[in-house]
Symmetry: C2
C-alpha cells in the first residue's frame, strides 16, 4: 500500500472560499458575518471535487490512501481572532471528515487547529478532541507561526505549546509542522515561508530538549525538511557545538521528513542522508507546484516517480510508502487494520 | 589559484568586541560611549589573529586568497540607529582593509554596510564609496533584514534598495546577500536565520523582474543557496506557475551560490543541480560550524575536500575555485592581474 501523508483539500468547491470571504468581511462589518449553516456543499459536490482531482491523480500515480487535511494556505490563522479561527477550523475539518466518510478507502483526515496569534494554544484542545474522537483524525497540523510570517509566538520548544503536546501524547498522534499563508511581503508563501518554517522548526527542536519532556512526541517536517537534509552536515556540526547528542539520538526518534521535494536530485539526497525510518512518502499534490516539469515530462509533484528511481532497496521503499506512516500515525494503522488492510 | 569568496573576520582581537560592548552600552548611557580612536589594535595583533587562524587553515587546506569581510553575526544592524551602525561599519571595514594590507597575497576586502532598520539604504553609499575607492573592496555584504529576524524592510526587488544597486552597477561589484544575528527567538542565527534568508532572497528575486532593471547586477547567495538547490524542482515549478522565464534565463545571469555546505552529499547535489558557472568556492571557515565531523575526521567547513570529491571535470573545478570569482568580482580580477596573478 502507498500512503501519502501530506494531502490538503486544495480543490474544495468555490462555496467554501465564498463563505470564508464573507467571514473575513464580517470581521469589520458584523452584519456581513455568515452563519456556518449558510455554507452548503452537497455530498455529490464533495465527491466530484475529489474524484476529478486528487483521487484521479492518486489512481494514475498508484497511491492508495491520503492523510487529508484542510488547505494549508487557507488556514490563515492570522486573520481575525480566536472566534474566527474556531468557526473556520470547524468548517474545514468537517469537510475533510465528510470526504473521509464518502471515500473511506482513499482518505483519512488530519485536523487543522483553530490557532490565533497570541492566543493560548490550549484553546485548540476542544477542536482537536472532536476531530480525534468524533471524526477519526489520525494527526494534526500545527502552525508554529500563526502570525503568518511575523514569527511572534515562542519557539516550539517553549512550554507555551505543551497543552497541545500533552494531548498529542495522550492520543498518540503526530503533528505535521505546517505554516499557512505569509502576510509578510518579504516571504513568498510556498517559495520561502513554507521552507523557512521547516528549517526553523527543526532548529528550534535541535537547540532544545523538548523530546526529553515528551519522549513519544512526533513531528513531521514537510517539504522534505526545508533546508535541513541539504545542510545535514551543518546541523550535525551545530548540534556538536551545542554539546547535544548525535542528531539520530537527539531528534530522529521524534522528527520525520516527508518526500515533498519536486525533483530527482533532491529525493536522492534525502534518501541518502536521512535514515529511511525517518522518511514518509508524500506529494502535497495539487498544491504549490502543479505544473509539468519540461525536463521530465512528468508532474513536478508526482513524487512517487522519484522514490521509484531512488537508489534504495525494495524493503526501504516499502518503509517510506507504508511502514513508517503506520508507525508514526498509530491511529491510521489501527483504522487500516480494523478494515483488514 | 583557489579563491574563497566567503570569509569573515571572526577572529578579531577581543578589544574589538569590548569596544562594541561599550558602544552598545553608550546607546542608553551616552557617557559610556567610546570614541573610535579608543579602539587600539596593533598590526602585530591583527597579523597574529589571522596567521594563527584563517591563514593557517588556508595553507593547510590549500586555498590561496579569501574575500574577507567583517564578521557577519557582529554586524547586528538592528542595534542602535544609523549613527551607531555607521561608526561600527567604519571600524570593522577599516580592520579588514588593514588585514588586506598586511597580508595582500591572501586577503582582499569586502565591505559591510552601515544599514539600520527603517533607514534609507542610500545612507550607506558614503561608506561603500570609501571602501571601494580608498580600501580596494571588491564586493559588499548586503543585509536584506537589518531588523535581525523581524523582516520589516521591503523585499530586495523593491525600489527601496535601488540606490545601493545603482552604485554596485557603477562600480561593477557584486553583493553577497547575508543577514546578521537574529534577535527573534524563533530563529537560531546560523541554523535557521541564515539559511532562511538565503531562500527568501532567492524567492524575492524569482517573483520580481529586478534584473530587467539591472541586467549586470550580481548577487551571491551564501550557504549553498539556503534551501534552493535542494528544492530546485520546486523553484523551477514556481517560476513556471508565475509565468516567469526558465530560471537559467530569469535569474542565473545574476545570482550565484557559494559552496558553504558542510557535507559531501550537499555539495554533490549543488554541483549536479546548479550550473557550474553559478557556483563559487567558499568555506566561511572559522564560522558557524568549527568542529570536526566524526563521520569523516575532517573539519565540517573544509569545503575544498567536498569539491575535490565531487563528480565534476577538472576544468569545472577550476571554474568553481577561480574563474567564476574572477568573473563575478571584476575588481578582484583586476587587482590580481595588476599583481601578475
Amino acid at each position: 500500500m502507498i500512503i501519502d501523508c501530506h494531502g490538503h483539500y486544495t480543490t474544495a468547491p468555490k462555496a467554501l472560499e465564498d463563505w470564508r470571504n464573507r467571514q473575513i468581511a464580517g470581521i469589520k462589518d458584523p452584519a456581513a458575518k455568515p452563519k456556518p449553516a449558510e455554507l452548503k456543499i452537497s455530498d455529490d459536490e464533495l465527491r466530484e471535487s475529489i474524484e476529478s482531482n486528487q483521487l484521479k491523480l492518486m489512481k494514475q500515480r498508484g497511491s492508495d490512501l491520503t492523510i487529508f487535511s484542510p488547505r494549508a494556505s487557507f488556514m490563515a490563522h492570522h486573520i481575525g481572532d480566536f472566534g474566527v479561527s474556531s468557526t473556520w477550523a470547524a468548517i474545514c475539518n468537517e469537510l475533510c471528515f465528510r470526504v473521509s466518510q464518502l471515500l473511506p478507502d482513499h482518505f483519512i483526515p488530519a485536523a487543522m487547529l483553530p490557532q490565533s496569534p497570541g492566543v493560548d494554544p490550549k484553546t485548540c484542545i476542544p477542536e482537536l478532541v472532536k476531530c480525534v474522537e468524533q471524526y477519526g483524525n489520525v494527526g494534526i497540523n500545527l502552525n508554529p507561526d500563526p502570525s503568518g510570517g511575523h514569527w511572534k509566538e515562542p519557539p516550539l520548544s517553549d512550554r507555551h505549546w505543551y497543552p497541545i503536546y500533552e494531548k498529542m501524547v495522550e492520543y498518540d498522534i503526530p503533528a505535521m509542522i505546517h505554516v499557512s499563508t505569509s502576510c509578510n511581503a518579504c516571504f513568498h508563501t510556498t517559495g520561502a515561508h513554507y521552507l523557512n518554517a521547516d528549517t526553523t522548526a527543526f532548529m528550534q527542536c535541535l537547540t532544545a530538549d523538548l523530546f526529553k519532556d515528551f519522549p513519544t512526541l512526533r513531528f513531521i517536517i514537510p517539504h522534505g525538511g526545508g533546508a535541513v537534509p541539504y545542510h545535514w552536515g551543518r546541523f550535525r556540526g551545530l548540534a556538536q557545538e551545542l554539546k547535544k547528542p548525535l542528531l539520530k539520538d537527539h531528534l530522529l526518534n521524534n522528527i520525520f521528513f516527508d518526500t515533498c521535494v519536486y525533483h530527482q536530485p533532491g529525493i536522492d539526497l534525502l534518501t541518502k542522508v536521512i535514515p529511511v525510518d525517518n522518511i514518509l512518502f508524500a506529494s502535497e499534490m495539487i498544491g504549490a507546484v502543479r505544473g509539468i516539469d519540461p525536463e521530465t515530462g512528468n508532474y513536478y509533484d508526482d513524487t512517487r516517480r522519484y522514490i521509484e528511481a531512488a537508489a534504495i532497496k525494495p524493503e526501504q521503499r516499502k518503509q517510506i510508502y507504508e511502514g513508517n506512516a503506520r508507525r508514526v500515525f498509530p491511529r491510521l494503522d489501527a483504522a487500516l487494520k480494523a478494515r483488514g488492510r
